[in-house]
Amino acid sequence: MQEATFLILTALADGSQHGYGIITDVQEISGGRVRLRPGTLYTALERLRVDGLIGVDREEIVDGRLRRYYRLTPAGTGRLAAEAARLQAHAAAALRRLNVAGVTAT
């Protein structure tokens, strides 16, 4: 799973969000490192929809502009959980070996 995809799914993990909300949330989750551009975001959202990992939650009109809220599907929740567990296992292994080698993570 690409990092951007992982971060988008993470942004949707605790509730539905609209496009701009996802962008600001991903920026926050990544500590300001990942700034998704709209073209990248919507291409990724379309792929995730095709893969059945996300769906449209609802639509709102705010200041005359359309906002569409996206949410995780059960398949999306499952994929994110599996990916998070995988990354955690890898990170734990790396930290364990660094400790053995006498290096402390900062």
């Binding site: 496009g19 962008i23 709209p38 919507y42 291409t43 379309e46 893969d51 502009r65 569409r68």
Partner: protein
Amino acid sequence: MTDQEHLERAYRRRLAWYPREFRNEHGPEILAVLMAGARDGQRRPGLAGSADLIRGGLSLRLFPCVPRSARTVRAAVWLTCAGAVIPALSLILGLVTLSAKGIVGGLIVAAMWLCMARAIGQGRNGARVFSVVLFGVVTLALGIAVFGFGGPGHVAGMTAFSLSLSVLNWLIGLAALGLLWLPASTAFFRPSILVEAQRAARLAERARIAAVRY
């Protein structure tokens, strides 16, 4: 025209890179996000902003519904697009040297590669089957050109340069075909009639949503 209107118009033009169906569905929403992210007094999308939209649009045009997981199919679509490069060069060369044969031949062959790429990206199994037939015909023609009349080195009307380009394109086709028929690709392809039916269902669903909205 205010700065904001100016910028919005420029963004609308960039959105033309996206497939029409997708644009109808998501255009207003993407525009809202683009405008929300705009700086004060910004009048142009900027190079990076434009590149982002063009890349996204092309990607959705090339792989309208290839899931990320179908890596072999995506690679095959890319290769098939790459196959259009040499014929396109021949078209440009034909335009420069005013060779009717180069122009027409280059145009037809380049268009065929791109049409195949599109049909494959839509998951039409017919396109996968047809690409085998097409590849067979090209292989036969190339075989005759190389080993036919007069043996190797006596290729009628072909320079060594254009022959090697043909062989290169043939190799691209071979690689694309190999990817398409891998077991990993097979799951993605459906009969054309099913592709059309799903498309129709999607359009009907969008029309229903639009009808509810207004």
